[in-house]
Symmetry: C2
Subunit: 343 residues, 2 copies
């Protein structure tokens, strides 16, 4: 399987995220992608190449223009106001507040985010545009090559980002940008399977009223886990999209026995939908040793996930999302890809 | 002027707040109230006494039952999940998210808050119930004594807290609780004048559809300043409350020349309303040396604010809100009270 990778991801290297009441070095760190890349090379999964430059138009097909503009200049404005530190927001326009865009940089950080775990650094803009290009290059390669699968080793991840919201380590929603690219380049129907531990709220929000993109997500139950306020079973899509959003929330402690049943149901729905392309939001934070998660998957379970995804027989674009057990992120990620390849 | 004060405020002594991208010792700290108390005694403003116990019913007249229950047990639940640290939330249910109440303590912190600057500590519950009692005791004393004014030295402050939201150092909205107590005890109409640097979004949200409580707020413009998403001039009340909410947002750098014009307009509206009682949300973070604010009031300007409030001729209940220039908070606060007294 071909992997797309850009070293520019290393420029997203925040000092802190707010978690468990503390500012800790971000769990979402450069070493994650490096370890996945090392494992790809170690097992000889396939060639690795860099991204092309697709410009911002494909990103703007998903994200609002003002949001993209904000991200481009946010750290410069922050630096002018606060000095050369990472930018974190101050507060959030929750229920009862107006959705107005403030002038000040602190106000705009607050407007465009929904957590304090996602620092904007001097290198964020370069890293997130590279990450989107990694996704887009993978999409184009899958289409042009006729290969069964391509892996976009995106970092920062994307699935929490909505049209005009960043958070959860995510800025641009790479998988949504790639899905839209497939739609704009000949695919009539696209499915996204999100196996990250956390609900892909951003992808759901973006695709919620669309029937041309089926979204299926397996994740920790939002009543227990981040992002808390989306990811319930009864969120099934709206308007044109009614019936095209499928959530499988599972309780803390979920292991393969329960997980695999949800996986099979999700895969069955994708088969029924019969998309031209399948995208996979590939997170491995369902792993039993993940430091911020509460599922119990074993390393070999990721191989089996790859096998079952392959059985759909679809052109498949894997797009990297989360996974914070640094030492095993390479093994677990590549297990899924190799599971797909082996059959 | 009589002051109500409880030493229980000292139990709200958080380790950190998230501000300017860092976790810093909270600007809202015990020394604030201590310095105000010292200055009261130094100038002999009047007697100081402790609060009575009004129970939770008057608090529940303003805040939702589930919100009050949450605050009571939040730190115990946090400690069970995370150990004996201060509780800070993780993310927030912003636009596009559902307003569902999660099971997990992290999820409920996220649901009930709108910033990460307001730690819940082991002592928070005791401190906030004491602070509400300080406000209620002041209200009852004003009514029973026939005095022209009473000062409730509340800490934590309250004006950012809404029916089921805490943030901005505020948990229970002391001034709203006191205003409701006046309404429930014979006052037909009550006005609240908020002179804190920050918009009193909580008080506005609570009273927005009511004509029996006039809310007038002078504050930094929300397009520049926290809380960013309320406090605009065009927020004038809703339904029954239409015309009974009056905001004077002012730009960074505002000094007495501009401030005093807004003050006079606000006071004129209160005079026209002719309430039975005036409550003042007394913040002194409009001071030129305030470390987190951008107005330019001088210490003697607070004396003049007190004089102009007094000129309304109304029974007046001063309720302490913000002010973070520790060294001058006593002088500035007592200047306002003494300005009221001198005439």
């Amino acid at each position: 399987m071909h992997t797309i990778y850009s070293a520019d991801h290393k420029l997203q290297d925040g000092k802190f995220e707010l978690i468990d009441g503390q500012l800790l070095p971000p769990f979402e760190c450069p070493k994650r992608a490096e370890n996945v890349l090392d494992r790809i090379n170690e097992v000889g999964l396939g060639a690795v190449s860099g991204p092309g430059d697709f410009g911002l138009d494909p990103v703007r097909r998903i994200h609002d223009v003002d949001f993209v503009d904000f991200l481009r200049t946010a750290h410069d404005e922050w630096r002018a106001a606060h000095g050369d530190t990472d930018a974190l927001p101050l507060n959030w326009p929750c229920r009862g507040f107006r959705q107005v865009i403030p002038e000040s940089i602190d106000g705009r950080l607050s407007y465009y985010s929904f957590d304090a775990g996602t620092p904007i650094t001097a290198g964020t803009w370069t890293a997130i545009t590279a990450s989107a290009n990694v996704a887009l290059t993978g999409a184009k390669m899958l289409k042009d090559s006729g290969d069964r699968a391509v892996f976009s080793l995106c970092r920062p991840p994307g699935h929490h980002a909505a049209k005009n919201l960043y958070a959860g380590y995510c800025f641009f929603n790479n998988v949504a940008v790639a899905a839209q690219w497939f739609r704009d380049n000949g695919a009539a129907k696209v499915a996204i399977l999100d196996v990250d531990y956390h609900h892909g709220n951003g992808t759901q929000m973006i695709m919620y009223d669309r029937s041309d993109v089926l979204f299926v997500s397996l994740h920790a139950h939002p009543t227990q886990e981040y992002p808390f306020f989306l990811g319930y079973e009864d969120e099934t899509g709206d308007g044109e999209g009614a019936g095209f959003n499928l959530n499988f929330p599972m309780r803390w402690g979920t292991a393969w026995d329960v997980y695999s049943q949800s996986l099979d149901k999700g895969i069955a729905r994708i088969a029924e939908y019969a998309p031209d392309i399948l995208l996979v939001s590939l997170g491995v934070d369902t792993f039993k040793k993940d430091p911020i998660s509460h599922f119990k998957l074993e390393s070999e379970d990721f191989t089996e996930i790859g096998r079952r995804i392959e059985a759909l027989g679809l052109p498949t674009h894997f797009v990297m999302e989360g996974g914070y057990a640094i030492d095993e992120i390479g093994v677990n990620t590549v297990n899924m890809l190799a599971g797909f390849e082996e059959t």
